[in-house]
């Protein structure tokens, strides 16, 4: 061991011998940014790495611990960028680029704009599913698709009615229509990226982060159900036929009454859970009413 290394070792040993110096050394070693950040406010104008260290120190101490260790080892900015983005993404927040951390919690909207012709070009598999609603899919280049009046009312009524079914497969189809007609109640599923960009982003406060994680997890779950719903509808022609009939019923009710009073609407659905058992499923509210009447 050379003299300098020996000196270092002796110094380190001396620092650990006194309780106060040991405490100071521990803080300097494990929490070197302890005096750098305000507990409540994040300065979003500062550099991304500082923001990331403040965010992780407050909310994800395990990431902060790793980041400090890497910084002490002399990690480059690019390495810190990769480490922090990967670790924060693993917590449920999709951060792809550290430079964007100052914009607030990143979130991706997956909502549908049925007036956007591009949607129909990308999702050609959904055209048969949307056809019963009377949407004229664009055949030539156009800026906007004309939608039938009350389309969203009918679409949301279908989604709501399917959610009330006991068959889990029908409820998955319900999420499909909730997504298509922007009525799931989850902003990431109901809003397009353009709509989301008009809303102030969530901050990196602990409460906002917790809310964002919940929102993103819920949106992911809904989109898994949406995908399952698409497959169910594609593979169950009887259910597609029932859908067409129920959409027609709702349009008729709208035409007669001028509105859809959802609690009084009774629709019957074909069971979609098992291809061998695709019998008609009555609306459970309807059964309840009949039971009460008896």
């Amino acid at each position: 061991m050379n003299l300098l290394a020996e000196l270092y070792q002796q110094l380190a040993l001396s620092l650990t011998a006194d309780p106060l110096l040991l405490l100071a050394s521990a803080v300097a070693t494990f929490d070197p940014f302890w005096a750098d950040f305000d507990d409540t406010d994040i300065d979003y104008e500062t550099d991304p790495l500082t923001i990331a260290l403040q965010v992780t120190r407050g909310v994800f101490p395990d990431i902060y611990a790793e980041a400090v260790e890497r910084l002490r080892a002399g990690a480059s900015y690019a390495e810190m960028d990769r480490l922090l983005c990967k670790a924060i993404s693993a917590k449920g927040i999709p951060l792809n680029d550290l430079d964007t951390i100052g914009w607030g919690v990143p979130m991706t909207a997956v909502g549908v704009d049925l007036e956007d012709p591009e949607f129909y070009a990308i999702h050609t598999d959904l055209l048969p599913i949307l056809a019963p609603f009377g949407i004229d899919t664009p055949e030539s280049e156009t800026y906007s698709v004309d939608l039938p009046e009350c389309l969203h009312k009918v679409g949301c009524a279908i989604a709501t009615n399917l959610h009330e079914q006991t068959d889990p497969a029908l409820r998955e189809v319900g999420w499909l229509f909730g997504w298509l007609f922007s009525c799931t109640g989850n902003s990431l599923v109901d809003y397009t990226d353009e709509m989301l960009s008009e809303i102030p982003p969530l901050s990196w406060s602990p409460d906002d982060i917790a809310f964002a994680v919940e929102l993103i997890e819920e949106a992911d779950g809904i989109m898994r159900d949406v995908q399952a719903g698409i497959e169910i509808l594609k593979s169950t022609p009887q259910l597609q036929a029932t859908l067409e009939r129920n959409v027609a019923i709702l349009y008729q009710i709208l035409k007669k009454k001028g509105n859809l009073d959802e609690p009084t609407i009774r629709l019957e659905w074909t069971s979609a859970g098992d291809s061998a058992d695709r019998t008609a499923v009555a609306d459970p509210q309807f059964l309840l009413v009949r039971h009460d009447a008896a």
Partner: protein, 86 residues
């Protein structure tokens, strides 16, 4: 104690009598003094526990310092500190 004069020495003795804080990070440094120079590595779980505890500790210290800095004057009628002619 109340009602009897409290000298600066007494106050010093009182504060000095507080047991030193013992944090996991301090234990790690005692075990591996090389950590101070960053020349050693620690199992991830122990590192995370140490950092989490120290972050919470420094947070409490900062909060206490803020509270002390913003203390409103308290009239002391029952304690005498002779050094300040109280």
């Amino acid at each position: 104690m109340f009602g009897s004069p409290l000298g600066l020495d007494d106050l010093h003795t009182c504060l000095a009598g507080i047991a030193p804080v013992e944090l996991k990070g301090m234990g790690l440094l005692r075990e591996q003094p090389h950590l101070i120079a960053g020349a050693s590595s620690i199992p991830r779980q122990r590192l995370v526990e140490a950092v989490t505890e120290i972050v919470a500790y420094t947070g409490r210290c900062a909060a206490a310092a803020r509270q002390l800095a913003n203390l409103t004057p308290v009239p002391i009628r029952t304690i005498g500190i002779v050094e300040f002619v109280l």
